[in-house]
């Protein structure tokens, strides 16, 4: 899932600026699951902003609404009226949600309430960790299902470097060394010979380095036309 966390209330207030009518828009998908921008968080943020603006003596109208997914036009259509009535939309979606609102409502000023952090998973209650860098050319089949691009601090393809100590990365003891994990897993599965092969330089074209990415599925486009 996409993992995000809320910006501080102060930053949200700064982003909202002088706008009078504020609409906080939550998202019912990834950011709901990571407790950053779901219906519950949208309601809390709206209440906090109301309280804060009262304390500042600059009373604003703050309401909130949550859609199933901010990243699909059809769900945004459902809130078109509220969006158009607002001076500013504070999106509690990920960066995609914010941009979807901006793209769908050209006349609306939209600001982000979250920092989109990474693609990851909850490893335990209240803890999320990065797992995928969306590099566009998955190599997990060569590394025992553990991604060195996302999880090694240097994204080494032929690790580990000399900074691996007792299972963690020298950059931070909270970071498990991805290459120790890969080594342990391949070792327990009897596939250490995979580590003897030199992995060639990566083709970063499929990653963000190749420019903004886009997928076109002609089969689906044809199917849509036929309908």
């Amino acid at each position: 899932m996409i993992v995000a966390e809320q910006k501080s209330l102060d930053e949200m207030k700064t982003l909202i600026g002088d706008a009078q009518k504020v609409l906080v828009v939550g998202c019912g998908t990834c950011v709901t699951v990571c407790f950053a921008g779901g219906a519950r968080e949208a309601a809390i943020v709206a209440a906090s902003l109301r309280m804060a603006t009262q304390l500042d003596g600059k009373i604003k109208t703050v309401s909130d609404v949550t859609v199933q997914r901010q990243c699909e036009w059809e769900y945004l259509d459902e809130i078109a009226e509220q969006v158009r009535a607002a001076d500013v939309v504070l999106s509690l979606g990920c960066g995609i949600g914010v941009q979807a609102i901006a793209e769908h409502f050209p006349q609306t000023w939209v600001v982000p309430g979250l920092n989109t952090s990474f693609l990851g998973l909850p490893t335990e209650q209240g803890v999320w960790a990065e797992r995928c860098a969306a590099c566009g050319d998955c190599l997990l089949g060569r590394t025992g299902g553990i991604c060195p691009i996302a999880r090694c601090s240097k994204s080494l393809l032929n690790g580990p470097c000399g900074g691996s100590e007792a299972g963690h990365c020298e950059v931070n003891p909270d970071i498990p060394c991805a290459w120790q994990l890969i080594y342990d897993r391949l070792s327990s599965l009897g596939k250490l010979d995979l580590l003897l092969e030199i992995q060639p330089p990566k083709n970063w074209k499929a990653a963000r380095d190749g420019g903004p990415r886009k997928i076109v599925r002609e089969d689906l486009r044809l199917a849509a036309e036929e309908e």
């Binding site: 032929n158 000399g162 020298e170 950059v171 030199i198």
Partner: protein, 347 residues
Amino acid sequence: MAAQPGSNGYLVGSNLERVLRAGHFAVTAELGPPQSADGDVIRKKAALLKGCCDAVNITDNQTAIVRMSSIGAGAIVVQEGLEPVIQMTCRDRNRLAIQSDLLGAYALGMRNLLCLSGDHQSFGNHPSAKNVFDLDSIQLVQMVTAMRDAKVFQCGEPFKGQEPRFFVGAAAAPFADPVEFRPYRLAKKIKAGANFIQTQLIYDIPAFKNFMEKVRQMGLHEQVYILAGVGPLKSPAMARYMKESVPGLWVPDEFIARMEAAGAPWADIPKDQLSKEDKKARADAWKQEGIRICIELIQQIREIEGVAGVHIMAIEWEEAVRPIVEGAGLLPRPSVSAPTAQEASYD
């Protein structure tokens, strides 16, 4: 493609390659460029190192702190009549920048190259910087040996004219985790084309002997020149810091105790009562003991089969190199005549 020596028997013919090929126990040292644009710092350090090592490593933004570039400093070192080993990390440059810098380095007379992944920028003075890591150190070795031997750029396009020819080195950290994988990773670096290896600092001789035994079992010492990293301890605090905080560095308690003993005459004086002279005398005593330990380490390392030399890392203490090399009985440095231009044909 396998490395093919030229008609003169050398891949490159650098002094370091000649000394190693002739079977001498090689000595390399380290020269850290300044955090300034002052070329005189390089000249002074080069003067300290000239004559007591076969080549000198020029670090590349070591510990991710911005310093004069390795190649810029290396050009001065060449002018000073000393042979540089250019260090190149993958942290700051992508494959385009690395290749173009190396074309320049060769044109400026540099002939040895050490390929490293590089310390993560979070340790340095620009921790908010974006890193590169387009290649890793093993891929870097592959790239530069292919530039030399297959005469192609990383993309596969052939050179139009002179190819850059470097004697290619890589690093090894025998005691970093997972320790049991380290000889195999060394083997990967050799497979990628490394000609020489400089290891992380060695203080634990029995552990290094174990590592070298595995290296010999795998026959790696016959495919690459292994230079063991050594360095003089400066103080007991430095020794403890290395032991406790630097991954892949094993410092036996015996050496920490010896460093403490060297400072014993001042140990009972309360900190605030230590005079300037006391502090200097204590620092000198520590340094002397550090140099003594380093000499002993070199002597023991020299006895280990498969070790081709030592790499002395006296960080910001280049003055220590000469007494260490001299104390270890490694002076004068051998002179192996350079191949003539006519001999040096690589086609």
